[in-house]
Symmetry: C2
Subunit: 202 residues, 2 copies
Protein backbone atom coordinates (compact mmCIF):
# COMPACT_ATOMS: atom_id res chain seq x y z
CA UNK A 1 0.00 0.00 0.00
CA UNK A 2 1.01 3.63 -0.34
CA UNK A 3 -0.14 7.13 0.48
CA UNK A 4 -0.43 9.90 -2.11
CA UNK A 5 0.40 13.17 -0.39
CA UNK A 6 2.20 16.48 -0.53
CA UNK A 7 4.86 16.62 2.12
CA UNK A 8 4.21 20.18 3.32
CA UNK A 9 0.39 19.92 3.29
CA UNK A 10 -1.16 19.84 6.78
CA UNK A 11 -3.54 16.91 6.15
CA UNK A 12 -0.62 14.85 4.88
CA UNK A 13 1.27 15.64 8.07
CA UNK A 14 -1.70 14.53 10.18
CA UNK A 15 -1.62 11.08 8.57
CA UNK A 16 2.20 10.81 8.83
CA UNK A 17 2.12 11.80 12.50
CA UNK A 18 -0.64 9.27 13.20
CA UNK A 19 1.28 6.47 11.46
CA UNK A 20 4.45 7.45 13.35
CA UNK A 21 2.58 7.15 16.67
CA UNK A 22 1.48 3.67 15.58
CA UNK A 23 4.96 2.72 14.37
CA UNK A 24 3.65 1.94 10.87
CA UNK A 25 6.06 2.21 7.92
CA UNK A 26 4.54 3.61 4.73
CA UNK A 27 5.47 4.33 1.12
CA UNK A 28 4.67 7.88 0.03
CA UNK A 29 4.15 9.32 -3.45
CA UNK A 30 4.16 13.10 -3.87
CA UNK A 31 1.31 14.85 -5.72
CA UNK A 32 1.97 18.32 -7.13
CA UNK A 33 -1.07 20.32 -5.97
CA UNK A 34 0.39 23.57 -7.29
CA UNK A 35 0.42 22.08 -10.82
CA UNK A 36 -3.11 20.70 -10.33
CA UNK A 37 -2.02 17.05 -10.52
CA UNK A 38 -4.77 16.29 -7.98
CA UNK A 39 -7.43 17.44 -10.44
CA UNK A 40 -6.31 15.19 -13.30
CA UNK A 41 -8.78 12.44 -14.32
CA UNK A 42 -6.45 9.64 -13.16
CA UNK A 43 -6.26 11.15 -9.68
CA UNK A 44 -10.02 11.83 -9.53
CA UNK A 45 -10.63 8.10 -9.97
CA UNK A 46 -8.67 7.64 -6.73
CA UNK A 47 -10.49 10.46 -4.92
CA UNK A 48 -13.55 12.17 -6.49
CA UNK A 49 -12.94 15.15 -4.17
CA UNK A 50 -9.51 15.67 -5.77
CA UNK A 51 -7.67 15.99 -2.46
CA UNK A 52 -4.71 14.42 -0.71
CA UNK A 53 -3.93 12.32 1.22
CA UNK A 54 -5.19 9.15 -0.46
CA UNK A 55 -4.35 5.66 0.80
CA UNK A 56 -4.10 3.09 -2.01
CA UNK A 57 -4.33 -0.54 -0.88
CA UNK A 58 -2.46 -3.32 -2.66
CA UNK A 59 -5.62 -4.36 -4.55
CA UNK A 60 -6.08 -0.81 -5.88
CA UNK A 61 -8.86 0.17 -3.46
CA UNK A 62 -8.47 3.82 -2.49
CA UNK A 63 -9.43 5.52 0.75
CA UNK A 64 -9.34 9.26 1.19
CA UNK A 65 -10.14 11.72 3.99
CA UNK A 66 -7.57 11.97 6.78
CA UNK A 67 -9.82 10.71 9.55
CA UNK A 68 -11.08 7.75 7.52
CA UNK A 69 -7.50 6.72 6.75
CA UNK A 70 -6.45 7.08 10.38
CA UNK A 71 -9.46 5.14 11.66
CA UNK A 72 -8.70 2.34 9.18
CA UNK A 73 -5.20 1.96 10.66
CA UNK A 74 -6.57 2.25 14.21
CA UNK A 75 -8.63 -0.87 13.55
CA UNK A 76 -5.75 -2.78 11.94
CA UNK A 77 -3.22 -1.68 14.59
CA UNK A 78 -5.21 -0.99 17.78
CA UNK A 79 -2.18 -0.05 19.92
CA UNK A 80 -1.37 2.57 21.01
CA UNK A 81 -5.04 3.51 21.13
CA UNK A 82 -5.66 6.97 19.67
CA UNK A 83 -9.43 6.95 19.04
CA UNK A 84 -10.70 5.81 22.47
CA UNK A 85 -11.51 2.52 24.18
CA UNK A 86 -15.05 2.82 25.56
CA UNK A 87 -18.17 4.14 23.80
CA UNK A 88 -18.06 7.34 25.87
CA UNK A 89 -14.35 7.90 25.37
CA UNK A 90 -14.64 7.32 21.63
CA UNK A 91 -17.52 9.77 21.39
CA UNK A 92 -15.64 12.35 23.49
CA UNK A 93 -12.54 12.09 21.29
CA UNK A 94 -14.71 12.37 18.18
CA UNK A 95 -16.47 15.42 19.62
CA UNK A 96 -13.16 17.19 20.27
CA UNK A 97 -11.76 16.11 16.91
CA UNK A 98 -14.78 17.67 15.25
CA UNK A 99 -14.51 20.85 17.31
CA UNK A 100 -10.94 21.12 16.01
CA UNK A 101 -11.84 20.32 12.43
CA UNK A 102 -14.87 22.57 12.05
CA UNK A 103 -13.83 25.47 14.28
CA UNK A 104 -10.05 25.59 13.89
CA UNK A 105 -8.90 23.56 10.88
CA UNK A 106 -11.61 24.70 8.50
CA UNK A 107 -11.32 28.45 9.23
CA UNK A 108 -7.51 28.17 9.10
CA UNK A 109 -7.68 26.45 5.73
CA UNK A 110 -10.14 29.00 4.36
CA UNK A 111 -8.02 31.86 5.73
CA UNK A 112 -5.05 30.38 3.87
CA UNK A 113 -6.93 30.06 0.60
CA UNK A 114 -8.66 33.44 0.73
CA UNK A 115 -5.89 35.56 2.25
CA UNK A 116 -2.98 34.17 0.23
CA UNK A 117 -4.98 33.31 -2.91
CA UNK A 118 -2.86 30.15 -3.20
CA UNK A 119 -5.41 28.48 -5.53
CA UNK A 120 -6.56 31.65 -7.30
CA UNK A 121 -5.98 29.96 -10.67
CA UNK A 122 -8.83 27.53 -9.88
CA UNK A 123 -11.19 29.17 -7.37
CA UNK A 124 -12.68 32.59 -6.59
CA UNK A 125 -10.94 34.38 -3.74
CA UNK A 126 -12.73 36.47 -1.07
CA UNK A 127 -10.03 38.23 1.00
CA UNK A 128 -12.48 39.72 3.53
CA UNK A 129 -13.95 36.29 4.15
CA UNK A 130 -10.40 35.01 4.68
CA UNK A 131 -9.79 37.65 7.36
CA UNK A 132 -13.07 36.76 9.03
CA UNK A 133 -12.05 33.09 9.09
CA UNK A 134 -8.72 34.02 10.67
CA UNK A 135 -10.58 35.78 13.48
CA UNK A 136 -12.87 32.77 13.95
CA UNK A 137 -9.83 30.50 14.26
CA UNK A 138 -8.26 32.84 16.85
CA UNK A 139 -11.33 32.45 19.08
CA UNK A 140 -10.59 28.73 19.26
CA UNK A 141 -7.00 29.34 20.32
CA UNK A 142 -8.58 30.90 23.44
CA UNK A 143 -11.11 28.10 23.85
CA UNK A 144 -8.36 25.48 23.63
CA UNK A 145 -6.24 27.40 26.15
CA UNK A 146 -9.19 27.30 28.57
CA UNK A 147 -9.68 23.58 27.90
CA UNK A 148 -5.98 22.81 28.46
CA UNK A 149 -6.06 24.66 31.80
CA UNK A 150 -8.31 21.80 32.96
CA UNK A 151 -6.92 18.70 31.24
CA UNK A 152 -3.44 17.86 29.87
CA UNK A 153 -4.62 16.89 26.36
CA UNK A 154 -7.39 18.11 24.05
CA UNK A 155 -9.77 15.20 24.63
CA UNK A 156 -8.81 14.61 28.28
CA UNK A 157 -6.14 12.75 30.22
CA UNK A 158 -4.12 11.28 27.36
CA UNK A 159 -2.73 11.97 23.89
CA UNK A 160 -5.22 11.11 21.10
CA UNK A 161 -6.03 11.79 17.45
CA UNK A 162 -7.60 15.10 18.59
CA UNK A 163 -4.12 16.33 19.62
CA UNK A 164 -2.68 15.39 16.23
CA UNK A 165 -5.44 17.34 14.46
CA UNK A 166 -5.00 20.42 16.65
CA UNK A 167 -1.19 20.36 16.57
CA UNK A 168 -0.90 20.14 12.77
CA UNK A 169 -3.56 22.83 12.36
CA UNK A 170 -1.88 25.28 14.74
CA UNK A 171 1.50 24.80 13.08
CA UNK A 172 -0.06 25.34 9.65
CA UNK A 173 -1.80 28.52 10.86
CA UNK A 174 1.56 30.33 10.92
CA UNK A 175 1.22 30.85 7.13
CA UNK A 176 -1.56 33.34 7.82
CA UNK A 177 -0.05 34.76 11.00
CA UNK A 178 -2.00 32.63 13.49
CA UNK A 179 0.23 32.08 16.53
CA UNK A 180 -0.12 31.04 20.16
CA UNK A 181 0.19 34.21 22.27
CA UNK A 182 1.72 34.75 25.76
CA UNK A 183 -1.89 35.01 27.02
CA UNK A 184 -2.38 31.32 26.10
CA UNK A 185 0.16 29.58 28.40
CA UNK A 186 -1.75 26.30 28.69
CA UNK A 187 -1.96 25.98 24.92
CA UNK A 188 1.76 26.80 24.67
CA UNK A 189 2.66 24.19 27.31
CA UNK A 190 0.60 21.56 25.45
CA UNK A 191 2.24 22.57 22.15
CA UNK A 192 5.69 22.19 23.73
CA UNK A 193 4.79 18.71 25.02
CA UNK A 194 3.41 17.55 21.66
CA UNK A 195 6.39 19.07 19.79
CA UNK A 196 8.70 16.90 21.92
CA UNK A 197 7.10 13.67 20.63
CA UNK A 198 9.14 11.97 17.92
CA UNK A 199 6.00 11.76 15.74
CA UNK A 200 6.04 15.57 15.46
CA UNK A 201 9.04 15.18 13.12
CA UNK A 202 7.24 12.72 10.80
Amino acid sequence: MKVYELRRAPNARRVRMFLAEKGIEMEYQQVDLGAGENLAPTFLTKNPAGRIPVLELDDGTCLSETLAICRYFEELHPEPNLFGSTALERATIEMWSRFIEFNLWLPTGMAFRHITGFYKDRERVFPEWGEECKQQAQIWFDKLDARLAEVPYIAGERFTIADILAFCTIDFGKVVGLRITPEQPHLQDWHDRVSARSSAQA
Copy 2:
Protein backbone atom coordinates in the same frame (compact mmCIF):
# COMPACT_ATOMS: atom_id res chain seq x y z
CA MET B 1 -30.85 11.12 29.01
CA LYS B 2 -32.12 13.78 26.66
CA VAL B 3 -31.18 15.68 23.53
CA TYR B 4 -31.17 19.48 23.31
CA GLU B 5 -32.17 20.43 19.78
CA LEU B 6 -34.22 22.67 17.55
CA ARG B 7 -36.80 20.64 15.70
CA ARG B 8 -36.38 22.29 12.28
CA ALA B 9 -32.55 22.40 12.35
CA PRO B 10 -30.89 19.93 9.95
CA ASN B 11 -28.34 18.56 12.43
CA ALA B 12 -31.13 17.85 14.89
CA ARG B 13 -32.97 15.94 12.17
CA ARG B 14 -29.85 13.87 11.42
CA VAL B 15 -29.75 12.66 15.04
CA ARG B 16 -33.52 12.01 15.19
CA MET B 17 -33.39 10.04 11.91
CA PHE B 18 -30.44 7.99 13.17
CA LEU B 19 -32.22 7.19 16.47
CA ALA B 20 -35.40 6.27 14.54
CA GLU B 21 -33.41 3.81 12.40
CA LYS B 22 -32.09 2.28 15.65
CA GLY B 23 -35.54 2.25 17.27
CA ILE B 24 -34.28 4.33 20.22
CA GLU B 25 -36.78 6.48 22.15
CA MET B 26 -35.46 9.85 23.28
CA GLU B 27 -36.55 12.89 25.28
CA TYR B 28 -36.03 16.18 23.43
CA GLN B 29 -35.73 19.72 24.80
CA GLN B 30 -36.04 22.62 22.36
CA VAL B 31 -33.37 25.36 22.28
CA ASP B 32 -34.32 28.74 20.78
CA LEU B 33 -31.40 29.48 18.44
CA GLY B 34 -33.11 32.58 17.04
CA ALA B 35 -33.15 34.10 20.55
CA GLY B 36 -29.52 33.05 21.10
CA GLU B 37 -30.34 30.58 23.91
CA ASN B 38 -27.48 28.42 22.61
CA LEU B 39 -24.98 31.19 23.40
CA ALA B 40 -26.03 31.62 27.04
CA PRO B 41 -23.40 30.63 29.66
CA THR B 42 -25.48 27.70 30.95
CA PHE B 43 -25.67 26.23 27.45
CA LEU B 44 -21.97 26.85 26.75
CA THR B 45 -21.11 24.64 29.74
CA LYS B 46 -22.93 21.85 27.87
CA ASN B 47 -21.26 22.61 24.53
CA PRO B 48 -18.39 25.12 24.28
CA ALA B 49 -19.14 25.47 20.55
CA GLY B 50 -22.66 26.75 21.38
CA ARG B 51 -24.42 24.45 18.94
CA ILE B 52 -27.20 21.90 18.94
CA PRO B 53 -27.76 18.97 19.15
CA VAL B 54 -26.32 18.10 22.57
CA LEU B 55 -26.88 14.74 24.24
CA GLU B 56 -27.01 14.99 28.04
CA LEU B 57 -26.49 11.69 29.86
CA ASP B 58 -28.21 10.94 33.17
CA ASP B 59 -25.04 11.80 35.13
CA GLY B 60 -24.88 15.24 33.48
CA THR B 61 -22.10 14.37 31.01
CA CYS B 62 -22.72 16.15 27.71
CA LEU B 63 -21.78 15.04 24.21
CA SER B 64 -22.15 17.28 21.20
CA GLU B 65 -21.45 17.01 17.47
CA THR B 66 -23.94 14.98 15.45
CA LEU B 67 -21.52 12.27 14.37
CA ALA B 68 -20.10 11.79 17.88
CA ILE B 69 -23.63 11.39 19.27
CA CYS B 70 -24.59 8.93 16.53
CA ARG B 71 -21.40 6.89 16.95
CA TYR B 72 -22.05 6.70 20.72
CA PHE B 73 -25.46 5.11 20.07
CA GLU B 74 -24.00 2.86 17.36
CA GLU B 75 -21.75 1.32 20.02
CA LEU B 76 -24.53 0.96 22.61
CA HIS B 77 -27.06 -0.36 20.05
CA PRO B 78 -25.03 -2.04 17.29
CA GLU B 79 -28.06 -3.15 15.22
CA PRO B 80 -29.01 -2.20 12.60
CA ASN B 81 -25.42 -1.39 11.74
CA LEU B 82 -25.08 2.10 10.22
CA PHE B 83 -21.34 2.81 10.55
CA GLY B 84 -19.88 -0.36 8.97
CA SER B 85 -18.78 -3.81 10.13
CA THR B 86 -15.23 -4.32 8.86
CA ALA B 87 -12.27 -1.93 9.03
CA LEU B 88 -12.54 -1.24 5.29
CA GLU B 89 -16.31 -0.76 5.34
CA ARG B 90 -16.08 1.58 8.34
CA ALA B 91 -13.40 3.63 6.63
CA THR B 92 -15.40 3.76 3.38
CA ILE B 93 -18.53 4.94 5.19
CA GLU B 94 -16.48 7.53 7.07
CA MET B 95 -14.90 8.71 3.81
CA TRP B 96 -18.31 9.23 2.18
CA SER B 97 -19.73 10.81 5.33
CA ARG B 98 -16.88 13.30 5.27
CA PHE B 99 -17.32 13.97 1.54
CA ILE B 100 -20.93 14.86 2.37
CA GLU B 101 -20.09 16.95 5.39
CA PHE B 102 -17.24 18.97 3.92
CA ASN B 103 -18.42 19.29 0.32
CA LEU B 104 -22.21 19.40 0.62
CA TRP B 105 -23.30 20.07 4.19
CA LEU B 106 -20.76 22.78 4.94
CA PRO B 107 -21.28 24.81 1.73
CA THR B 108 -25.06 24.44 2.15
CA GLY B 109 -24.88 25.72 5.73
CA MET B 110 -22.65 28.63 4.73
CA ALA B 111 -24.92 29.45 1.78
CA PHE B 112 -27.84 29.56 4.23
CA ARG B 113 -26.04 31.85 6.66
CA HIS B 114 -24.55 34.19 4.08
CA ILE B 115 -27.43 34.36 1.57
CA THR B 116 -30.28 34.65 4.07
CA GLY B 117 -28.32 36.48 6.80
CA PHE B 118 -30.22 34.36 9.34
CA TYR B 119 -27.63 35.07 12.08
CA LYS B 120 -26.78 38.62 10.98
CA ASP B 121 -27.32 39.84 14.55
CA ARG B 122 -24.27 37.81 15.65
CA GLU B 123 -21.98 37.30 12.67
CA ARG B 124 -20.71 39.18 9.63
CA VAL B 125 -22.48 38.24 6.42
CA PHE B 126 -20.77 37.88 3.02
CA PRO B 127 -23.53 37.39 0.39
CA GLU B 128 -21.11 36.78 -2.51
CA TRP B 129 -19.38 34.06 -0.50
CA GLY B 130 -22.81 32.54 0.18
CA GLU B 131 -23.54 32.38 -3.57
CA GLU B 132 -20.14 30.80 -4.19
CA CYS B 133 -20.90 28.15 -1.55
CA LYS B 134 -24.24 27.41 -3.19
CA GLN B 135 -22.42 26.73 -6.47
CA GLN B 136 -19.91 24.49 -4.69
CA ALA B 137 -22.78 22.47 -3.18
CA GLN B 138 -24.41 22.10 -6.60
CA ILE B 139 -21.27 20.46 -7.95
CA TRP B 140 -21.73 17.71 -5.38
CA PHE B 141 -25.32 17.10 -6.45
CA ASP B 142 -23.77 16.03 -9.77
CA LYS B 143 -21.02 13.99 -8.11
CA LEU B 144 -23.59 12.15 -5.98
CA ASP B 145 -25.76 11.50 -9.03
CA ALA B 146 -22.73 9.90 -10.72
CA ARG B 147 -22.00 7.85 -7.59
CA LEU B 148 -25.61 6.66 -7.32
CA ALA B 149 -25.56 5.52 -10.95
CA GLU B 150 -23.07 2.88 -9.76
CA VAL B 151 -24.29 1.89 -6.29
CA PRO B 152 -27.74 2.06 -4.63
CA TYR B 153 -26.61 4.01 -1.54
CA ILE B 154 -24.01 6.71 -0.92
CA ALA B 155 -21.42 4.46 0.72
CA GLY B 156 -22.20 1.34 -1.35
CA GLU B 157 -24.68 -1.52 -1.25
CA ARG B 158 -26.67 -0.62 1.83
CA PHE B 159 -28.22 2.28 3.78
CA THR B 160 -25.77 3.89 6.25
CA ILE B 161 -25.11 7.04 8.25
CA ALA B 162 -23.76 8.60 5.03
CA ASP B 163 -27.27 8.46 3.53
CA ILE B 164 -28.75 10.16 6.59
CA LEU B 165 -26.20 12.97 6.33
CA ALA B 166 -26.78 13.48 2.61
CA PHE B 167 -30.57 13.22 2.81
CA CYS B 168 -30.97 15.80 5.60
CA THR B 169 -28.53 18.12 3.86
CA ILE B 170 -30.31 17.97 0.50
CA ASP B 171 -33.69 18.60 2.10
CA PHE B 172 -32.28 21.57 4.04
CA GLY B 173 -30.73 23.01 0.86
CA LYS B 174 -34.20 23.96 -0.39
CA VAL B 175 -34.02 27.08 1.84
CA VAL B 176 -31.39 28.49 -0.54
CA GLY B 177 -32.92 27.05 -3.71
CA LEU B 178 -30.75 23.93 -3.95
CA ARG B 179 -32.83 21.21 -5.57
CA ILE B 180 -32.32 17.90 -7.34
CA THR B 181 -32.78 18.53 -11.07
CA PRO B 182 -34.23 16.29 -13.85
CA GLU B 183 -30.61 15.81 -14.99
CA GLN B 184 -29.89 13.95 -11.72
CA PRO B 185 -32.23 10.92 -11.97
CA HIS B 186 -30.08 8.59 -9.86
CA LEU B 187 -29.95 11.11 -7.04
CA GLN B 188 -33.73 11.60 -7.34
CA ASP B 189 -34.36 7.83 -7.24
CA TRP B 190 -32.18 7.52 -4.13
CA HIS B 191 -33.99 10.47 -2.51
CA ASP B 192 -37.35 8.80 -3.24
CA ARG B 193 -36.17 5.56 -1.64
CA VAL B 194 -34.81 7.28 1.48
CA SER B 195 -37.94 9.46 1.76
CA ALA B 196 -40.03 6.27 1.93
CA ARG B 197 -38.24 5.10 5.11
CA SER B 198 -40.25 5.75 8.26
CA SER B 199 -37.17 7.41 9.82
CA ALA B 200 -37.49 10.22 7.27
CA GLN B 201 -40.53 11.43 9.27
CA ALA B 202 -38.65 11.55 12.59
